[in-house]
C-alpha cells in the first residue's frame, strides 16, 4: 500500500476554541492510483492532504506514505521522506527570484545533487512538461498554465513516489485545467506515480481520478471508484457534486422549460455506464413499441474507468405502451429516472 491513513483526527486550537478539521479518516491508496478527494472549502481536505507530507501532524492516528510513517518522524528523516512525497499548489508557489531552470533545480539543490547532474535532470524535466524555450524566463513572464508546469517539473525532480496536488488547477481557466490534467495522467501512466489530489470541482475528479472520496465536515462520507460514484451517488453532497458534471445549470432550465411545453407522455432521464453507453437503446425502443421519442438533451463524459452518459428523452404515445417501454429500459443496463408525468 502506497498510502495508508489510520483513524486520523486533527484538532486545531484557536482563540475561539478547538476546531476539529479532520476526524475518523481511514484510507488506503494503492501504488499508481490517482485518488481524488472532493469537498467544499472547510471540509478538511486541505488539512488531510497536508498530513500526507507532514506539513500538518495529526492529533491522533497515523499516516504512512511510501513506507515512511510521516505522522511520527521528525528532522532529517522527515525531510528525506518529503523528497519522495512532492506537492504542487493552487498558487504554484514558485520563487520569483529564480528562472524556470533554477526553480526546477531547487529541490535538486536541497537533495544535494551535483551541479552537472542537476542541469541534465532539469533539461529532462523541461522536456517532460513541455516548457522548451522558456528555460530562462522568470515566473512573472509565464502564464498560469506554464507556471503550473514548472511546479510539476519541480515536484518531479527528485523522482518522488507520490505527488500531492493541492487544488492544483483551481486557479486556471478550463482549457488550461484540461491540459494540466492531461499532463498529470500522462505522468501517472509513464512514471507509475501515485497521485493524490484535492479539489472542489467534480470535473477534475471525472477526468483523471480512479477513485474518489467525498469529504464533508472533516469526515469522508462516501468513497468508491469514480464510475460507481457517478452511477450511484449515495449522499446528498455527492449527488450535488455529480450534478456539477452531468447536469449543468442550463440543462435544468431546459428541462423545466420543456416540462411546461409537453402536456402528454413522460420526460425520462437515462444514465448509461460503460458498455451500456454503446448499445442502440433508442432504436430498440422505437422498433419495439408504438411510441414517439424526442431527444431533449444528452451528454457523454469520459472517466478513467469508462464512459458515463446521460440522456433526457420525452416519450409520448399510449400510456400502456409508455409503461411497457419503461419496463423494457429497466431490463437493460441503463439507469432510469422519470422526471415528470407530463
Amino acid at each position: 500500500m502506497m498510502i495508508s491513513i489510520k483513524n486520523v483526527k486533527k484538532i486545531f486550537s484557536t482563540k475561539q476554541g478547538k476546531v476539529t478539521a479532520v476526524t475518523d479518516v481511514n484510507l488506503e491508496i494503492q501504488e499508481g492510483e490517482i485518488f481524488g478527494v472532493i469537498g467544499y472549502s472547510g471540509a478538511g481536505k486541505s488539512t488531510l492532504i497536508r498530513m500526507l507530507n507532514g506539513l500538518e501532524l495529526p492529533t491522533e492516528g497515523s499516516v504512512t506514505v511510501a513506507e515512511n510513517q510521516v505522522s511520527h518522524i521528525k528532522g532529517t528523516k522527515l525531510r528525506k521522506a518529503r523528497q519522495e512525497i512532492s506537492m504542487i499548489f493552487q498558487h504554484f508557489n514558485l520563487l520569483w527570484s529564480r528562472t524556470v531552470r533554477e526553480n526546477i533545480a531547487f529541490p535538486l539543490e536541497i537533495a544535494g545533487v551535483p551541479k552537472q547532474k542537476r542541469m541534465q535532470r532539469v533539461d529532462e524535466l523541461i522536456q517532460l512538461v513541455g516548457l522548451q524555450g522558456r528555460e530562462d524566463s522568470y515566473p512573472s513572464q509565464l502564464s498560469g498554465g506554464q507556471k503550473q508546469r514548472v511546479g510539476i517539473a519541480r515536484a518531479l525532480a527528485n523522482n518522488p513516489k507520490v505527488l500531492l496536488c493541492d487544488e492544483a488547477t483551481s486557479a486556471l481557466d478550463p482549457q488550461t485545467t484540461d491540459q494540466i490534467l492531461e499532463l498529470l495522467v500522462d505522468i501517472n501512466k509513464r512514471l507509475g506515480l501515485t497521485i493524490v489530489l484535492i479539489t472542489h470541482e467534480m470535473h477534475v475528479i471525472r477526468k483523471i481520478c480512479h477513485r474518489v472520496a467525498v469529504m464533508e465536515a472533516g469526515k469522508i462520507v462516501e468513497m468508491g471508484s469514480v464510475l460507481e460514484v457517478f452511477k450511484n451517488p449515495q449522499q446528498p453532497i455527492t449527488k450535488r457534486f455529480v450534478q456539477q458534471v452531468t447536469e449543468p445549470e442550463e440543462t435544468k432550465e431546459t428541462i423545466e422549460h420543456l416540462l411546461t411545453e409537453y402536456h402528454s407522455g413522460r420526460v425520462v432521464q437515462l444514465t448509461f455506464i460503460g458498455e451500456g453507453a454503446e448499445k442502440p437503446l433508442i432504436t430498440d425502443l422505437i422498433r419495439n413499441f408504438d411510441i414517439t421519442i424526442n431527444i431533449l438533451q444528452g451528454k457523454i463524459s469520459q472517466t478513467q474507468n469508462g464512459a458515463y452518459g446521460t440522456l433526457f428523452i420525452h416519450l409520448d404515445g399510449d400510456e400502456s405502451e409508455i409503461i411497457k417501454a419503461i419496463d423494457f429500459i429497466n431490463t437493460k443496463q441503463v439507469g432510469l429516472e422519470v422526471i415528470s408525468n407530463a
Binding site: 525531510r79 518529503r82 508557489n93 520563487l95 527570484s97 536541497i110 512573472s140
Partner: protein, 222 residues
C-alpha cells in the same frame, strides 16, 4: 571660478573630510546590513506561525530593537561614550563614531528587514518545506533572495540616514563633513565652507540613492 565662489574652502581638507564621511558611512552601512538582517531574520522567524516560533525571544528582541530605535541619535552617542572608550580608547575620530552609528541604525534596519520578510508569500516557504528543505536552506535560498529588493531599498534608505548621522557625530568630534561644516564653517563664520560641505553631502546622498535604485530594479524580477 570655484575658488572665486568658495574662497575659504581648502580643497585638500574638503577631500579628507569627504573621505572620512564615506568611510564612516561605508563601514557602518555594511555592519548595519549584516546585523540588521540577523536581527530581522530573528524577529521574523520567532514570530507566531513561523519556523522558530518563540514568544519570549521574539518579545525580547523586539523590545531591544524598539528601545534603541527610540533613543535620539545625538543622545545615543553620549550614552555610548564609555563603551566607545572601552573599545577604541578614545572618543575622537571616525572609528569612535562607528559603535553609535551601527547601534543607532541596525535596529531601524532590522524592522525594515522584518517587513520585507513578512511580504514573502507564505506558500513559497511552505513549498520549500514540502521539498524537504532545512531551515538554513530556507533562509539562504528562499527568505533572503525573495526579499532582496526590499533589503536593498531598505539599506539604501538606512545608508542615507547614516550620512546625516555621521554629520551629527562629526560635531562631537568624529571628523568628516559634519565636523568640517561645523568647526571650519559655522564657528569661524565661513559660510562658503558650510555650503560646500552641504553640497558634498548632497552628492553622496544622490549617489547612494542612484546606486540603490539601479540595484533594486535589476534584481526585482516580480
Amino acid at each position: 571660478m570655484l575658488n572665486q565662489w568658495f574662497p575659504n574652502v581648502r580643497w585638500d581638507k574638503m577631500w579628507e573630510a569627504t573621505n572620512e564621511t564615506l568611510y564612516m558611512t561605508g563601514i557602518s552601512t555594511l555592519a548595519t546590513f549584516i546585523l540588521g538582517i540577523i536581527l530581522g531574520l530573528l524577529l521574523f522567524l520567532t514570530a507566531k506561525g513561523n519556523l522558530w516560533q518563540n514568544y519570549a525571544i521574539n518579545k525580547v528582541i523586539s523590545a531591544i530593537v524598539n528601545i534603541f530605535r527610540s533613543i535620539p541619535f545625538i543622545i545615543l552617542i553620549v550614552l555610548l561614550i564609555p563603551f566607545t572608550k572601552l573599545i577604541f580608547g578614545t572618543m575622537i575620530g571616525e572609528n569612535a563614531a562607528l559603535p553609535a552609528l551601527i547601534i543607532g541604525s541596525a535596529p531601524f534596519y532590522a524592522r525594515m528587514v522584518e517587513i520585507g520578510l513578512r511580504e514573502i508569500d507564505k506558500g513559497v516557504i511552505e513549498a520549500a518545506r514540502s521539498m524537504g528543505a532545512k531551515t538554513s536552506t530556507i533562509i539562504w535560498k528562499v527568505l533572503i533572495p525573495e526579499s532582496l529588493p526590499a533589503l536593498v531599498s531598505g539599506i539604501t534608505v538606512t545608508a542615507i540616514s547614516l550620512v546625516s548621522f555621521t554629520a551629527m557625530a562629526g560635531v562631537i568630534g568624529a571628523g568628516g563633513l559634519g565636523n568640517l561644516a561645523y568647526l571650519e564653517g559655522f564657528q569661524r563664520g565661513r559660510f562658503d565652507v558650510t555650503l560646500m560641505a552641504t553640497i558634498m553631502v548632497l552628492i553622496i546622498v544622490f549617489i547612494i540613492q542612484f546606486i540603490g535604485d539601479i540595484i533594486t530594479n535589476k534584481i526585482d524580477k516580480r
